[in-house]
Symmetry: C2
Subunit: 341 residues, 2 copies
Amino acid sequence: MKLKNDLLIRTALGEKVDRPPVWLMRQAGRILPQYRALRGKLSGFKELVETPHLAAEVTIQPVDELGVDAAIIFSDILVIPEAMGLTYEMVEKKGPLFPETIKSGADIDKLISGADAASHLKYVYDALETTVKELDGRVPLIGFAGAPWTILAYMVEGSGSKTFSKAKKFLYAEPALAHQLLQKITDTTIAYLKLKVKSGANLIQVFDSWAGILSPIQFRTFALPYLKQIATAIDNVPVTVFAKGAWFAYQDLEHVDCNVVGIDWNTPPMYAKTWLKTKVCQGNLDPCQLYGHPDEVRAAALKMVKEFGGKHIANLGHGVYPDTPLDNVRVFVDTIKGYSY
Amino acid sequence: MKLKNDLLIRTALGEKVDRPPVWLMRQAGRILPQYRALRGKLSGFKELVETPHLAAEVTIQPVDELGVDAAIIFSDILVIPEAMGLTYEMVEKKGPLFPETIKSGADIDKLISGADAASHLKYVYDALETTVKELDGRVPLIGFAGAPWTILAYMVEGSGSKTFSKAKKFLYAEPALAHQLLQKITDTTIAYLKLKVKSGANLIQVFDSWAGILSPIQFRTFALPYLKQIATAIDNVPVTVFAKGAWFAYQDLEHVDCNVVGIDWNTPPMYAKTWLKTKVCQGNLDPCQLYGHPDEVRAAALKMVKEFGGKHIANLGHGVYPDTPLDNVRVFVDTIKGYSY
């Protein structure tokens, strides 16, 4: 499918462009009234994830409504543990919950992995194919996965957590088991992402959402090697790595075989540019900035674009919060689209 | 009261010492069996905070049990909003909860502040005086408070949160009100900390626990000016500022009138030393490291001490987790005490 708007892809590949492309993490979600209307009719979050034509529908909503330069397939990073044999529930207002968690080598042995596990996620590939067809080349479609450390964190902790101290304890107390589990997750993720590309994803983003709670040494030991494997294994499309909070590891990320690095809102653009000389940066407006006055949203968006000064994909530094005023999201998107270098 | 062990104070003041002093954030707490025994007999956390002879007892427990180089008064940062008129509850396993939150200028106007508010905290000053008497100069006593931004975060959000997006929204949407509230908190905190010093605190630590969720600009606007006011107002004793996660603001913290800066476990010691040239650093072992094998705890503690290489107070990079094996805490403390520069 030939892309009519390939600004995201050209930017990710390091080409010179007239303005930064713009999209928002979690753009397909509660900020949109049409999402809330559809979601209200369903039994739950997982029904939406697992029903390809519905996932495709909400994936395209922000393209229609906001005019962003990319769609990102509606899904969840936790489909991977589920495909490996560890089911999750999505508890309203509380987040994910795993009735069973990984505690021992025997638990890890029971998990399936690689292509076998990835083959269980047909609903995701179907959703991608439907989306590609319906997008008809208007914008690129982003496929994504969680990074192995972040997926392990949920599989061991069993739910979200402020400290993920159970998951981190597992790294310190059972390093060999941790590596075994991380490798199984990595093998599955690679097979999964390759099938996503085959199903039409034009760019792959890997979310290491809990990178920032690791010490620099733990990041280097338990997160980085698996991110590297994934980035190296994906070919044909550009790869973005978003290791949230991992400012201390930018010199390592510079050596990961990816095109784009996601930057969170704590990180001054100048710091990111200094360490990530060969990468394109994506981010990094504070999502809470969109609660401010529209004039301030505009000013902050322009300040960000100027500070990155090219080799930049405009986005927030984190997923957009569900109660963000939609008009401010529009101001953000339109400010970027009206800019030129 | 003349201190028999003044290593912490001499180190904080920048004197050359033979080894780093060592203590642990949250050392007076659930890691100790004698704490759990006492706590089990009480109605709740607040009873312990508000009963001076009990607060003194648990403050001294880690000095007896672990031989640390400092005691830190058992209390909570949320006594300040309570003294200002906003009561909190401590919900078992969930954390703090404010039945009423700050939403408007009228809510802020109703709060009392400064010396009037600080005078409500007699139980804290009594606890300090009792502790000083019972410590009999064995080690210095640390008094503490939350930083104004962190206190505002709880007063507006109403509870703990992963994102504190309600509190951050308040900063973006109501900046004038935010500054008004921050000033009231600051005035109260200064009066409170001066009374703590008068009651025998030998060092003051200010915890900006949620500094790390602010963007650099928001930190500079809403956190830094109030930290500066507090650090400047405290005289006679050294001051430590622990702005957790605020690596992006170290160049600002270098210009705060404090002696010591707390370093979290994400931050490489070399990075901290580069930016904080005139400060003593405190930290920064990953609290989860204490879940590892004792040999690794020892190695990690030594690695940390060598990397800081002086001008350093040994500690964790965050409060010790309640389920940490006590024997590993001992290994950590004893490793530091056995070290010499």
